[in-house]
């Protein structure tokens, strides 16, 4: 019996080895190397690095540009996490049954998710620029009423968030639909027999039962929002006046444009810790809630 267990363990291990090897090679080792680099003065093309302790971290946490980028990233993430969730949930509630037209609509709403972020970014640059301008001219709207979608510092971040929502809402809609379909129809039927309105069914039955899915979608949106790079890179290059420079874009600029590899790596470790902290916090909250519900 004992040897059989050992044999089984060995088999499991053999199966795990490829995945562990790939994970170690492409994630663990580079990660450890990055953490090491963040404590050095590694600089672009220099072949030597000197250990400088926490100097990079001190600079990052006191540099107003880094702090501003962190704030911008949090603002953007909050905006997209709320908007994309609301849109995805609304679409899911509207399209939650298997009528043929609804299936087609689901496919249509999911389509933007298959497009590359860069293409979506360029499409929206075109919409906010050329198409919008033509619309203004066509309808003789005076220039003073025109909105500068990507040129106005106060609006640009949210214009970018709208593009991101358009791209990702379909994906989260599918997750919500899967969640909705796992809700027993008996519960809904019983509520309807008891005289619950459609809104009542949504608010009192569907939403509470969907809460694990909602939390999962929020976690997914927050982690992807905190790492946003493609949209600011392609739509605004971080402008105007740094108003859309997310932390990921700042890290890229610090590492690849300013050549300050060690400093950029310290910034990425800080971002990594923030993503970890936020995800863990949400996960713990959800687990506690589930436990409370079970009791």
């Amino acid at each position: 019996m004992k040897s059989r267990t050992r044999e089984e363990t060995l088999t499991y291990l053999v199966f795990l080895v490829p995945a562990i090897a790939a994970f170690t090679l492409f994630f663990v080792i580079p990660f450890i190397q990055s953490v090491y680099l963040s404590f050095t003065d590694a600089y672009g093309y220099n072949q030597t690095q000197n250990w400088i302790g926490f100097a990079n971290y001190r600079e990052a946490l006191t540099n107003p540009n880094v702090l501003r980028s962190l704030r911008i990233t949090l603002q953007y993430t909050a905006f997209v996490a709320v908007l994309a969730n609301v849109v995805a949930l609304a679409l899911a509630l509207l399209l939650d049954d298997s009528a043929r037209c609804k299936k087609t609509l689901r496919a249509i709403f999911f389509l933007p998710n298959l497009m590359s972020m860069i293409i979506v970014a360029f499409v929206f640059v075109f919409l906010y620029g050329g198409v919008y301008r033509s619309f203004l001219t066509q309808w003789n709207i005076p220039e003073r009423l025109a909105v500068s979608w990507l040129g106005n510092e106060k609006i640009a971040l949210y214009s970018m968030g709208i593009a991101a929502t358009w791209q990702c809402a379909g994906y989260y809609m599918l997750i919500y639909i899967a969640g909705l379909q796992s809700i027993s129809p008996d519960l809904v039927e019983a509520a309807q027999i008891d005289g619950a309105s459609s809104l009542g069914v949504i608010l009192k039955i569907k939403l509470p039962l969907l809460s694990p899915v909602i939390v999962m979608n929020i976690i997914l949106l927050i982690t992807s929002g905190l790492k946003t790079f493609d949209f600011p890179m392609a739509m605004t290059s971080g402008g105007p006046a740094g108003a859309t420079t997310t932390i990921a874009l700042l890290i890229y600029n610090t590492g690849f444009r300013s050549n300050r590899t060690g400093y950029a790596t310290a910034q990425s470790v800080i971002l990594f810790l923030i993503v970890c902290a936020v995800t863990t916090a949400l996960y713990v909250l959800q687990s506690r809630k589930e436990k409370a519900d079970a009791q």
Binding site: T11, S148, L150, G238, P240, A241, T254
Partner: protein
């Protein structure tokens, strides 16, 4: 049974994974190694010289055809050398950095703004003392982008460009305006255009990089025209942005340009949009580099265009044009074919080749005795050169990490996030940090 098959499959998977890893060794082979292999396979093919392949890496997409022509001529003269050009326009610095880190270093490459950093990393061959460098204009060669303070020449300049103000001569003639050479004349030009409802400057600040050339057109004559060693003094702590009033003039004049342009739509308009505004007569001027000539002409080939320098004081002698060596090539220190690389650089300095290059690139030549007339605007630039009204220095000697901070300070100042004192203080800190990081 099923389990043993599964285990066998897993082992096979592992083996294929291991093979894939080991297969990387030939995959990362540098192009320079290839000819050595060819040579050992077919030694009889070249009785006199072994065939050599040089890998040329640059970011000048528009020069692809010209380089192809030059390479063809070169290969006719040196039949045993093949030059393969690789053009990377998207993030070339990042690509080059990856190549250097993985020992896939091209034999000849354009280090662009990073040349001095790459040299410090020990990757470049010092070209000083090479005979072919005597064909290059001294001013171009001694520029801080190519030759360092210790006299090492890390790259060979081929052409020269300028950062300037393009202006519509017809609009200027219509309102009786002359090229301004003092700040008060410049104010007068702006006032006249404003009173006639003409947008003075085409601004394409959606592409944030376009703010920098506009500021350099001012900084070069204002700061470096007066203090050629300003960079070294700043790094040594002998001067600062705050203590150099000329830097304040640069930022204030830049704001004047912003306020007298398509201000409301400046951050909605991109570089091409600004070029179109000037080309279609919607604005009278645009501050940018000579490279903007091509897009302007492609929109309106017949525009009556002129080039001028920006005034920076009440002294007309200060209104100098910022002319600088642009495209330069370096040789990798670890190239296995250094002699052949030098032959290629020497070939580029021959007058007929330099002329071919400059005419197609629409740039001035860095090679002695080669004067080109690629466009009517070249006459304007030549007039500045003939009068000695050029200054060659601006941002090329800055610490690499300072560029991004400087670029960020421009919109912050223009949009009123920081006043002039705060801007100068921020630039001082940014310079010190960047210079320290590059040590």
């Amino acid at each position: 049974m099923k389990r043993s098959i599964a285990v066998l499959m897993t082992v096979l998977l592992l083996l294929s994974f291991a093979t894939a890893c080991s297969a990387q060794t030939p995959a990362v082979q540098t192009p320079t190694e290839a000819p050595v292999e060819q040579a050992t396979e077919a030694p009889a093919a070249s009785a006199e010289k072994e065939p050599v392949t040089l890998h040329l890496f640059h970011q000048k997409q528009e020069a692809q055809e010209t380089f192809a022509q030059i390479i063809e001529k070169f290969e006719t003269e040196y039949p045993y050398i093949t030059v393969e050009q690789e053009i990377v326009t998207n993030e070339p610095a990042a690509v080059l950095k990856a190549r250097l880190a993985t020992d896939e270093i091209p034999d000849i490459f354009q280090g662009a703004l990073d040349t001095m950093d790459i040299a410090k990393g020990g990757y470049l061959l010092d070209l000083s003392g090479e005979a072919f460098l005597s064909n290059i204009n001294d001013a171009a060669l001694s520029s801080s982008s190519f030759t360092d303070a210790d006299g090492h020449t890390w790259a060979m300049p081929i052409d020269g460009s300028c950062i300037c103000v393009f202006y519509n001569k017809d609009i200027f003639a219509q309102y009786g305006l002359a090229v301004p050479t003092t700040l008060s004349e410049f104010d007068n030009v702006l006032a006249t255009l404003k009173s006639n409802n003409v947008t003075a400057f085409a601004l394409g600040f959606k592409d944030a990089w376009t703010m920098k050339p506009a500021s350099l057109a001012l900084a070069s004559p204002a700061v470096y025209g007066k203090y050629p060693t300003w960079d070294a003094e700043k790094t040594a702590g002998a001067t600062s942005f705050a203590a150099t009033p000329e830097w304040t003039v640069v930022f204030e004049q830049l704001k004047k340009i912003y306020e007298n342009g398509n201000t409301k739509t400046a951050f909605d308009t991109d570089y091409n949009g600004a070029c179109a505004m000037l080309a279609q007569g919607e604005a009278a001027m645009m501050a940018n580099g000579l490279w903007a000539l091509e897009p302007i002409r492609s929109i309106n080939p017949d525009i009556n265009l002129g080039i001028m320098a920006l005034p920076v004081s009440e002294n007309p002698a200060d209104a100098k044009l910022h002319q600088f060596p642009d495209f330069g090539l370096s040789i990798s220190k670890t190239s296995k074919h250094i002699e052949e690389c030098k032959l290629f650089l020497e070939f580029l300095t021959r007058p007929e080749i330099a002329e071919l290059w400059s005419n197609s690139a629409k740039l001035f030549s860095a090679v002695k005795g080669v004067s080109v007339n690629f466009d009517p605007v070249a006459a304007d630039v030549n007039a500045y050169i003939d009068a000695g009204m050029v200054c060659t220095q601006a941002d090329r000697g800055w610490p690499t990490a300072f560029h991004a901070e400087y670029e960020a300070s421009l919109p912050a100042y223009l949009l009123g996030h920081a006043d002039i004192a705060a801007t100068m203080a921020a630039l001082d800190t940014a310079w010190d940090t960047a210079a320290n990081a590059a040590k």
